[in-house]
């Protein structure tokens, strides 16, 4: 019998070791007092380097309620601290609450133009197709930055995220804003991934990342089947073993895996805000 653990470490991980790896979905945490948790940040970076990641794009969203602009600024400042601590390795996404429309637009400008962030992160405060998002989306189109939106078609009950965007919400916004670059987050962390893929398949400006704890056999093959590798980004969202393992396991061409690891359509964003 073969020793697959050795094969994985010595041979299969060459995919990560020998290609640029950009992780588009991760998070960095604060220490409870509004400052960067430096110890955790450093542990995280060490783990990411151990897994041969070259760039990790991080955000710090508020996952419940209606966070106010001051709270949001403090969260984004934590990301900026992490970017300063690990320049070039950690890239930042600005979290905003579209409910505070004017402040959200101003915060995007601050984070991109002053702090060097390369996109925005939205959570579940509103469906992405809600008109309240229009000023935010239009600002992102103007700045040419991507939007990473928390997403899912959750089948478990009760429904604890009533405004969680599923694939059909992304399809609607794609019709209105074909020039926006939008990532439907974590295909492996948003419940019914088959629903999600079918809903966005025909909308070329909707992308997805492979993060999430779910590593169902076939999930990567189907993602590439419906979207093409050029619309898929590598990501982990707190699940390194699963994110790495599912890409290694997938029965897709090597060139598609390399494209997912460093999506060429997103390469231009990484050049921005270099510190």
């Amino acid at each position: 019998m073969i020793n697959y653990t050795e094969i994985l470490k010595e041979e299969k991980m060459k995919l990560f070791k020998e290609n640029k790896v950009v992780n588009w979905h991760e998070h960095i945490w604060d220490d409870g007092s509004g400052k960067l948790n430096e110890e955790l940040c450093d542990c995280f970076v060490e783990a990411a380097r151990k897994a041969y990641m070259d760039v990790v794009v991080c955000s710090l969203p508020v996952s419940g309620g209606e966070p106010d602009p001051d709270t949001i600024k403090r969260k984004n400042d934590v990301i900026a601290q992490a970017m300063d601590r690990h320049p070039g390795f950690i890239k930042g996404l600005a979290f905003v609450n579209p409910g505070y429309s004017r402040e959200a637009v101003a915060e995007i400008e601050r984070c991109v133009n002053e702090l060097g962030m390369i996109g925005i992160k939205l959570y579940n405060q509103y469906f992405i197709s809600d008109p309240v998002l229009h000023p935010v989306i239009e600002k992102c189109i103007e700045l040419d930055i991507p939007i990473l939106e928390h997403a899912g078609k959750l089948r478990s009950l009760p429904n604890v995220q009533p405004f969680l965007s599923d694939g059909t919400h992304f399809a609607k916004v794609a019709e209105k804003y074909p020039d926006a670059v939008i990532i439907m987050a974590h295909i492996g962390g948003g419940g019914d991934w088959q629903w999600q893929l079918k809903a966005i398949a025909d909308y070329p400006n909707i992308y997805t990342d492979i993060s999430g704890s779910v590593y169902d056999e076939g999930i990567i093959e189907q993602t590439v089947h419906y979207l093409g590798a050029e619309r898929v980004l590598f990501g982990t969202d707190g699940s390194f073993s699963q994110g790495i393992g599912k890409l290694l396991a997938a029965n897709i061409p090597e060139k598609d895996k390399i494209e997912i690891l460093n999506n060429t359509k997103f390469a231009r964003y990484l050049e921005r805000g270099a510190k």
Partner: protein, 263 residues
């Protein structure tokens, strides 16, 4: 040697599965270097009479008895459960009992399941309690909305002190912590897999795997792939990056299960 505690053969009603017959599963086992796998019948989970699925499983694996360790799926709330269980062990040579209270709609601490699990203990048959088959967030609308209730398991450990348990396909690092006190002072042992346990330091300076070792002990951690539902590679990423010594690697990949199954 590598032994897998958690694989399935059979039909899954809610999503197309590949490699879900004996030959397909064997091809996956060969690909990943898995020598032996504990296997149960998915059909048995969904048939009213689980015994029909158990019999199908034995027929399906009859040519590869050296590779499979069959587990019987029994519903202790269905007629003749004791007769069926004894038949599975004594006549069919099944080596384990697998229970699905969240599919068969019972509480593990009800009299019948307790009686069944005590009987398994008396017969030296380990009881496998998967926390779930698939992640409930993506369930089909006709599928169960529940996972294994760990509170019930906690009570069960004291109600059935002589029975060995395997708790798989869940957050084992959290489960082992919750069940630590209830696991002590029993004759039976409690094993955990690491199919949902992170080995990288992402949200804490200790990894989830290190937490699992702390609360379960390295002698109680086993390999479980959940194939053919899940890709195999993530388990091997974990093995490759868990930082295990050669001795501990041997325990986790085969030694602990050899001891359990007296192989």
């Amino acid at each position: 040697m590598l032994i897998d505690i958690n694989t399935y053969i059979g039909h899954w009603p809610f999503r197309q599965l590949r490699n879900n017959a004996a030959q397909g599963l064997l091809s996956l086992m060969d690909k990943y270097g898995i020598d032996m796998a504990a296997v149960s019948s998915l059909n048995a989970v969904f048939y009213k009479d689980t015994q029909e699925g158990n019999l199908e499983l034995i027929e399906e694996i009859k040519d590869n008895k050296d590779r499979f360790i069959p587990f019987a799926v029994i519903n202790p709330k269905y007629a003749a459960w004791e007769k069926d269980f004894r038949y599975c062990v004594e006549k069919l040579g099944m080596k384990g009992l697998e229970l699905y209270p969240y599919y068969h709609n019972y509480d593990l601490t009800e009299p019948e399941p307790v009686e069944l699990i005590r009987l398994a203990g008396e017969m030296n048959i380990p009881v496998h309690l998967p926390c779930a088959i698939v992640n409930v967030r993506q369930r089909h609308w006709m599928d169960t909305n529940d996972n294994l209730d760990l509170g019930q398991v906690e009570k069960l450990l004291s109600l059935c002190p002589d029975t060995d348990f395997i708790i798989s396909n869940g957050p084992s690092h959290i489960n082992a912590q919750q069940l630590k006190n209830a696991s002590e002072g029993r004759r039976g042992r409690v094993y955990y897999d690491f199919a949902s346990v992170e080995v990288f330091t992402l949200r804490s300076s200790a990894t989830d795997f290190e937490t699992l070792v702390k609360y379960a002990g390295i002698d109680h951690i086993v390999f479980g792939s959940v194939m053919p539902f899940q890709y195999g590679d993530p388990q091997f990423v974990r093995l490759a990056y868990a930082g295990l010594s050669e001795e501990d690697m041997e325990k986790v990949t085969s030694g602990n299960l050899k001891r359990l199954f007296r192989l």
